[in-house]
Subunit: 245 residues, 2 copies
Amino acid sequence: MAKLYVIGLGPGGVEYLTIRAKKAIEESDIIVGYTKYIHMVRPLLEGKEIFSTGMRGEEDRCRKAIELSKDKIVSVISTGDSGIYGMAGLILQLKNDNDVEIIPGVTASSSAASVLGAPLMHDNCNISLSDLMTPYELIKKRVELAAKGDFVISLYNPKSNGRPHYLRECMNIIRKYRTSNTPVGVVKNALRDGQKISIFTIENFDDSIVDMLSIVIVGNSQSYIKNGRIITPRGYKIENLGTVN
Amino acid sequence: MAKLYVIGLGPGGVEYLTIRAKKAIEESDIIVGYTKYIHMVRPLLEGKEIFSTGMRGEEDRCRKAIELSKDKIVSVISTGDSGIYGMAGLILQLKNDNDVEIIPGVTASSSAASVLGAPLMHDNCNISLSDLMTPYELIKKRVELAAKGDFVISLYNPKSNGRPHYLRECMNIIRKYRTSNTPVGVVKNALRDGQKISIFTIENFDDSIVDMLSIVIVGNSQSYIKNGRIITPRGYKIENLGTVN
């Protein structure tokens, strides 16, 4: 049998896989993915053929997976949701047909939010600070418009050695539109080994603990901290609307 | 034993539950949720006590769940991600302590995206068109800022009998910032019984098929339709940037 799956693992580890994703991995002959992701689902890979490469090998992995899926059952795996900054797009761009099943997963902002409390309860956006394929000017523009619109903002790929100052610069943009007590949550390795949770206000935010494996979530004008968790109410009380401009 | 879980079911049905969510439901004595959600996981509820109410009973359900969880294992369930327009916020707002486990799920925009192709591959935002607790002026402002920022836009609760024209009005706002061939995907009942997929360009978009059970996803300036699926590339080619203003 031949088949191609593109699977979002969620935060990583077997427990937060969907049942559909677990079944697809189990029925696969070959698993294709970044080495680090392969380790996360190691318990399911007994006796399977593995094709893994380093972080920058994404296009190679996708071409290889499409090739292999002509006569085998192949799963391309990545963390989070395969459709949000994942492998689904590249596979569809490179493949000539639609003979592929995309299996969604829990995206990183949802995983991070679940351990921070409930910061994403209202309109929200996901912005990646990686400038590998997006000009930094456009990234900053998006951060500013999201802040202006009082969106809850989830920052993916918030920091790397190549761009240590982007996060601080983007926070300074957001700060123009938020009060100083706006909650900011940082989660490293959400819902997997090495999980680390930090909650700040935008005023005392310290980006030194943030790395590439972290997600940063900035609340909206209604968000608050209670018992060490961030809560964003589902809506707006009219008397609060003054804070939205 | 006493415990409170707030669980996101994902699109609905048992197959797209996370393994963690399934275990939590199985170990629960009492399941609390909107009647329609209860039916979706019916196979897991054998012999369990059920507390369900209609759509508007959310606060009652949460209070009841918190009360019941003092001496039983209780799961509050809702579709999608419990942390995005879900029950997590209300539970934390009403509860005096943090003795609750929030289990994230696949949010509706991820489920819809997985059957549309890969529309969410780049920066994206979720906006609810429900004005029950958010002024319509703020909703329209967000739609405009998201369009201006070239975000991929997922519209939740896109239409109801009480506000039949909001979707068309918001699409007209987005149209000011997108070319006429911008892909628009509509998915009703994504990844569950009654799934219906429609793909348009923003120019020929027809909102008559959209209802409260639908998610509408509007691509960014780089999105395109290939083999009947929507693809958003992961980044920007410099020569394309002229389309982003």
